[in-house]
Structure formats: structure tokens, C-alpha cells
């Protein structure tokens, strides 16, 4: 290999290296400066969405949400874990007020929706009533099945206050099938899957109340 080729190879790679270092320096500085703010924002967003599922009642003391329980789909630590249809280990949030557990936010996945899975969070108060339901992720048809999202319609609010005792097993479906809940025009599969899964979450809570709330 001749000298001039070596020289130009060295020149080019060293200037590329220099540019890479310079860019890395800028990126590192921006990362360092923004990291605390980003962590803060993520925490705030998580808290805001948890408060939507489990609003503080009245002007009571501030709630805290503790991600203390890991639900594992394979483990038998909890009875009837298959009710939640989890794909992987998922956190449940214990809701604490005044040092006492007053409810839980459970993850659950509706598997029999129109298009793919619907990931849900279901908040349940200590008395077995639903505090709120939130759709984390879905791939239902825009304009039809996506009315399960709160930003599109308030259908999902119909769960608030319901429990296994207030709503009979037969009423846990859409009105078309004799139940208590509205269907959407052109989409009954989506709401039916969500309703069923919310009820499953209540059943799971009933089975495991003591362990979940650490009573």
C-alpha cells in the first residue's frame, strides 16, 4: 500500500472521528440538561393518567400511587390470573391515602377485540366499585371502534361506580344484547370486548382482594 493512500485514509477517518466526537459532545450536553426535566415530565404524565383512573374523592388527602405489585401471567401467586390475560409481567398500582390502601389500579388486556389487543387499566375502590377505566393502547378502526378513547367519546365513563353487585352478570354487555352499556354505530365487537374485560378485572379483584390491598 502506498503512502499517499494511507495518508488520505488517516486524514478522512480522523476528521470523521473528530466530527463524531463534536456531535457526541453536543448531544451529551443536551441530554444532561434535559434529563431531569424529562424524568419530571414522565412522572407527571403518569400521575395525571393514574389520577384520571382513580380521582381523589372530595377534597380528601392527596393520593399516592405505589407500583408495588408485579403481576406475572405464569405465576400462581394470585388466583385466576388468566382473567387479566396479561402478556408479560406488569405492574399494578396500589392507591394509598393516609397510609392506608384504598384501592388498586389493575392492568388487563382485552384479547377478543376487532383488531388486536386492547390494553386497559382498571381502577377499583376498596368497596369493589370501579373508579375509572383507561385505554392505554388499541388498534381499533378510527371513527368506529376508537370511541373507547376518552378524547373521542365519554363512553368509557359509563363504568364509573359499577361493581359486581350493582350490575348483574347479564347486564355486563351492550344494550343490543340486553346489557347496560351503549354500543357504537357499526362497532359492537369493540365495546363488548372492553366490557367483558373490565368485569374480568373485577372478578380478579374479588378473588385476590386481601393480597392486592395488603389487608
Amino acid at each position: 500500500m502506498n503512502n499517499s493512500l494511507l495518508r488520505s485514509l488517516f486524514m478522512h477517518s480522523s476528521s470523521l472521528l473528530l466530527i463524531a466526537l463534536l456531535v457526541a459532545l453536543i448531544l451529551g450536553a443536551v441530554f444532561e440538561l434535559s434529563a431531569p426535566r424529562i424524568a419530571n415530565q414522565q412522572e407527571e404524565a403518569l400521575r395525571a393518567s393514574l389520577l384520571e383512573i382513580f380521582p381523589a374523592e372530595g377534597s380528601g388527602p392527596g393520593l399516592s400511587f405505589e407500583p408495588t405489585i408485579t403481576l406475572s401471567p405464569e405465576s400462581s401467586a394470585f388466583a385466576d390470573i388468566e382473567l387479566l390475560a396479561l402478556r408479560e409481567n406488569t405492574l399494578a398500582y396500589r392507591v394509598i391515602a393516609d397510609g392506608r390502601a384504598i384501592g388498586i389500579i389493575l392492568p388487563a388486556i382485552a384479547r377478543d377485540a376487532y383488531n388486536g389487543d386492547i390494553d386497559l387499566l382498571v381502577g377499583i375502590r376498596i368497596n369493589g366499585a370501579i373508579s375509572g377505566v383507561h385505554v392505554l393502547q388499541h388498534r381499533e378502526t378510527p371513527g368506529l371502534g376508537d370511541k373507547i378513547e376518552l378524547r373521542i367519546s365519554d363512553w368509557i365513563l359509563a363504568f364509573e361506580g359499577r361493581s359486581l353487585t350493582s350490575t348483574t352478570p347479564a347486564a355486563w354487555t351492550v344494550q343490543k344484547a340486553g346489557g347496560d352499556f351503549d354500543q357504537f354505530t357499526g362497532a359492537t365487537i369493540t365495546p363488548r370486548a372492553v366490557i367483558q374485560k373490565v368485569r374480568d378485572a373485577l372478578l380478579f379483584f374479588q378473588q385476590n382482594e386481601g393480597d392486592l390491598l395488603n389487608l
Binding site: 470523521l16 443536551v30 424529562i38 404524565a45 371513527g143
Partner: protein
């Protein structure tokens, strides 16, 4: 203002507009222009990246030989896109959750690499910075225009959820068409293509109407010469 600056402004915003004339960056343009707030968010990020990468490329242009130009420029652009992503996360987190997956796509917006290679690599820092900002503004203007029309057609509102980007804009949502039944096509990709076609035609028409009469004669001349 000098004529050179004037030319840069006119080129970026109109005569060489990245979206309407160069037809570059259509992927993010069509994907994100579903509402004004999404469009404005991506537009600001694109302006930031274009300005920063043009300035940086121009400053180091004499030290980068043509052999390693492409890898060096892509590296620089990718670095600034990552910065934009971090800044969006830090200052508009809810908006990041909505359009975050499109931010890395700015790297593949050919406008950015195109301006680096064809302008910033040959010009001093200040004109390069102006060119970057103007090209970014031209791109963002089209993005926001499409966001405005698509949001209006799809849901009958404009400026919904602006507080995601601007905390003081909480009540900006305007219900322009009351009891609007919604028009799904407008927010789906085919609607974006159709609307883009109309905007391209409109630009062409305006261009011919106000400045293009001579061009048209020249075109007719060259066609008749071919025959």
C-alpha cells in the same frame, strides 16, 4: 435587507419551497399534518434541525473533504434530530407522546441533507443559517396549512389541543362548523395525498398568474422549437 437575503427568503418560502417545489420530506408532511398542533410541533422541530445542521455544516465545510461528506453530514443531522427529540420531551411531553414517533423521521427528510449538501457546504455561516430557517419555515407553512385544512375537514374544529405545545393556548379551539358529522377521509393518508394535489395545483396556478407569464411563453417557445 440585502438582495442575497431577499433571494434566500423568497426561495425558501415560495420559489424553491421544499414541500411544494422540491417535493421533499413528503413522508413526515403527509403523516403528521392531521391537526394544527401536530403540524406546528413537527414544523418547529424541523426548523430547529435545519437551522442547526446548516450552521454546523457551514462552519466545518472547509475541513470536510467531499469523500466523507455524506457520512459526516448524516451524522450531524442525526445528532441534531436526537437533540430536537430530547427538547420536545422536556418541554412538550404530551405532544411528544402524540407525534414522538415521527421526530426521528426528520433524519430521512431529504430537505435537511439536501440543504446541507447543496447550500451549507458551499456558503458561509450566516447565509446558511438564513437558508436553513427559511427552508424550515417554508416546509412548516405547508405543514400547518395542511394541518389546518385536514383538521377542519375531519372534525369541524381548528386549533384543538394547542395547549399541548403552547401552555397559554388552552382555549384556542374553534368550532367552525357546528354539529359537524366528521369526515374520516381527511385524516386518513389518502385524504392527505388528495389535499396535497390541490395545494400543488393552487401554487402552480398562483405562480403562473403572477410571475409565470414569461416562463409560459418561454415554455411554449421551447416546445415549438422541439417540433
Amino acid at each position: 435587507m440585502s438582495t442575497a437575503t431577499n433571494t434566500l427568503i423568497r426561495q425558501g418560502l415560495w420559489s424553491n419551497n421544499p414541500a411544494l417545489v422540491q417535493l421533499l420530506g413528503l413522508c413526515p408532511l403527509l403523516a403528521v399534518s392531521t391537526s394544527v398542533v401536530n403540524a406546528l410541533g413537527l414544523g418547529l422541530a424541523t426548523i430547529l434541525v435545519l437551522a442547526a445542521s446548516n450552521l454546523f455544516v457551514s462552519l466545518i465545510r472547509q475541513r470536510v473533504s467531499t469523500t466523507i461528506r455524506l457520512p459526516a453530514f448524516v451524522l450531524i443531522i442525526a445528532g441534531f434530530v436526537s437533540c430536537a427529540e430530547l427538547l420536545l420531551q422536556a418541554f412538550a411531553y404530551p405532544l411528544y407522546l402524540r407525534i414522538g414517533i415521527f421526530i426521528p423521521l426528520i433524519v430521512t427528510n431529504c430537505t435537511v441533507l439536501g440543504r446541507a449538501v447543496s447550500f451549507a457546504a458551499r456558503n458561509p455561516a450566516l447565509p446558511s443559517l438564513i437558508d436553513g430557517v427559511m427552508m424550515g419555515l417554508g416546509f412548516s407553512a405547508v405543514l400547518v396549512l395542511m394541518g389546518f385544512i385536514r383538521e377542519l375537514l375531519a372534525s369541524g374544529t381548528v386549533f384543538a389541543n394547542m395547549e399541548l405545545l403552547l401552555p397559554f393556548a388552552a382555549n384556542w379551539e374553534l368550532q367552525i362548523l357546528p354539529n359537524y358529522p366528521g369526515f374520516l377521509l381527511a385524516i386518513l393518508p389518502p385524504g392527505a395525498f388528495i389535499l396535497m394535489g390541490f395545494i400543488l395545483a393552487l401554487r402552480k396556478w398562483l405562480d403562473l398568474k403572477f410571475t409565470g407569464a414569461q416562463d409560459l411563453r418561454a415554455l411554449a417557445q421551447s416546445i415549438s422549437n422541439h417540433e
